[in-house]
């Protein structure tokens, strides 16, 4: 019998789920207008994937994992985030 893991059940360290690049599911991406961003951090708080990170003047998005759900754009009080369609 060939086994891939020592675990008995579907448990893993937090690292392994990161092998699934959920960004591949995306059909639209958030675009932040740096000049409008007040750096309140709401996008980061509400992002279900935890992929908004604080940068010196705005919050970046990790496109490897961002699914394009638009929660950040919806909650942004400064309306600094817009969603743009992914081009094939």
């Amino acid at each position: 019998m060939k086994f891939r893991t020592e675990f008995e059940g579907p448990w893993s360290t937090p690292k392994e789920p990161l092998d699934v690049k959920t960004g591949e599911w995306r059909s639209q991406r958030p675009l932040t207008k740096g000049e409008k961003c007040r750096q309140c951090g709401w996008c980061s708080l509400f992002c279900p994937c935890g992929c908004r990170k604080e940068m010196p003047h705005y919050f970046s998005v990790d496109l490897d994992y961002c699914k394009g759900c638009a929660t950040c754009a919806r909650v942004c009080p400064a309306k600094a985030i817009m969603m743009v369609r992914e081009e094939i």
Binding site: F3, E8, W11, T13, E16, P17
Partner: protein
């Protein structure tokens, strides 16, 4: 000292209260349960224990059964000993969380006060709720008496938390017949139970901590890894059978009560025909077996204690060479038009020595109906007739005759 502290005493208790003492003795860390007939008094008793300072557990009142199990998934992931209890529609409402417990190999122990499922509506005794979830990945132990409920809960923790097993366990008891009827119950002493459960302290188990976070029920790709987890759960179920026999023997040595492990064999050695029961009808059936023995009928009884995983090896051993088998079922399988245990027994026929016994099914006790001594006598008479070569109806609905 609290009047409720009956540890180390012999008292008259109903099944729910007997079960509650079993839980108290196992010192769970977290209890999360929603009341439902007929399990409610078990939960009430646990709350009384907690209020009087006997039970040092986190008592969580969820808004429903699904949340009750959800809470325990987290508590179990953090390494806690957990307990819940439910019945019937409560179990259905728990649904997906119930599956998660088994799939993630969480050793949760749940008392299941068995009752009929809707529809038609009713709160009567039956085994339909338990058998409906027979392939949800839980171990299921069926009990015959209040004492057996208490003892089985202690054994359930030994089985569930064993690092070779790590499966959730249901301790099933029929509503009212067991949950509300009072019987003599010997409540073990705390020290003895602590000693019996002591080996669990050294058992390895995955644990979620803030320092070392883990992901459970993770999205599992590729298919080979998914298949691996399925295989491992199957293997654990197969290991659980022998392990349960061992635990039962050890329990017998420690407490002086033993129940045969996966199945109880009653007067089966020289028997030509066998009656198969599961749950509380066993008591009545044993009395009738004794009576028929006095009349010279070579009849024995097998009580299925471990319904899941299937005790197939033990059943084959006892059924080989018998002439006929009569199964008393307290549930219905729509697909096969018989009871669930009958389906299980029939599945053994391919492996049984030839000539294979004739098998008959008797559905009785639905919706809290009594399975009387006359019913059991009727079952034995029919099975004896079948053994003699007289043609009998395969499935008989006892309440409709």
């Amino acid at each position: 000292m609290s009047m409720l502290d009956l540890r180390g005493q012999i008292r008259v208790l109903d099944g729910n209260r007997a079960g509650a003492y079993g839980v108290l003795l196992c010192r769970p860390d977290v209890i999360s349960s929603y009341p439902i007939t007929p399990q409610t008094p078990l939960l009430e008793t646990l709350y009384k224990f907690e209020a009087e300072g006997l039970l040092d557990a986190e008592m969580i009142e969820p808004e429903g059964e699904n949340s009750a199990m959800g809470v325990l998934l987290g508590a179990c992931a953090a390494g806690g000993r957990t307990f819940t209890a439910t019945s019937s529609q409560g179990l259905s409402f728990m649904g997906d969380a119930y599956l998660l417990a088994a799939g993630n190999r969480f050793p949760i122990v749940m008392a299941l006060g068995m009752r009929e499922q809707v529809s038609p509506h009713g709160v009567f005794a039956g085994q339909q709720d338990a058998v409906l979830v027979k392939d949800h990945g839980w171990v299921q132990i069926f009990t015959e008496s209040g004492q057996e409920i208490l003892d089985s809960i202690i054994m359930a923790y030994r089985l569930a938390e064993d690092s070779d097993i790590l499966l959730p366990v249901n301790v099933c008891y029929e509503g009212f017949y067991l949950s509300h009827h009072s019987q003599r119950v010997a409540v073990p002493g705390q020290e003895e139970v602590d000693e019996f459960l002591a080996p669990l302290k050294n058992m390895k188990r995955l644990k979620w901590t803030l320092e070392e976070p883990m992901v459970f029920s993770s999205y599992t790709v590729p298919a080979e890894l998914f298949t691996e987890y399925r295989y491992k759960a199957c293997a654990a179920h197969q290991r659980a059978k022998g392990k349960f026999d061992e635990i039962d023997k050890e329990f017998g040595k420690k407490f002086g009560r033993s129940y045969g492990g996966q199945i109880e064999e009653y007067k089966t050695d020289d028997a030509e025909i066998i009656i198969v029961t599961m749950g509380c009808s066993t008591g009545t059936a044993k009395v009738v077996v004794d009576r028929k023995r006095e009349e010279g009928v070579k009849v024995g009884l097998v009580k299925v204690r471990m319904f899941r995983p299937s005790p197939r090896e033990r059943l084959l051993e006892v059924l080989n060479g018998k002439k006929a088998v009569g199964v008393i079922d307290r549930s219905v399988c729509y697909a096969w038009g018989c009871g669930h245990n009958f389906v299980e027994l029939k599945a053994l026929l391919g492996d049984i020595e030839r000539p294979a016994p004739i098998m008959l099914d008797f559905i009785g006790g639905l919706a809290g109906a009594d399975i009387t001594d006359q019913h059991v006598a009727r079952v034995i008479d029919s099975t004896v007739a079948a053994a003699k070569g007289q043609r009998q109806q395969t499935v008989t609905w006892l309440s409709l005759e």
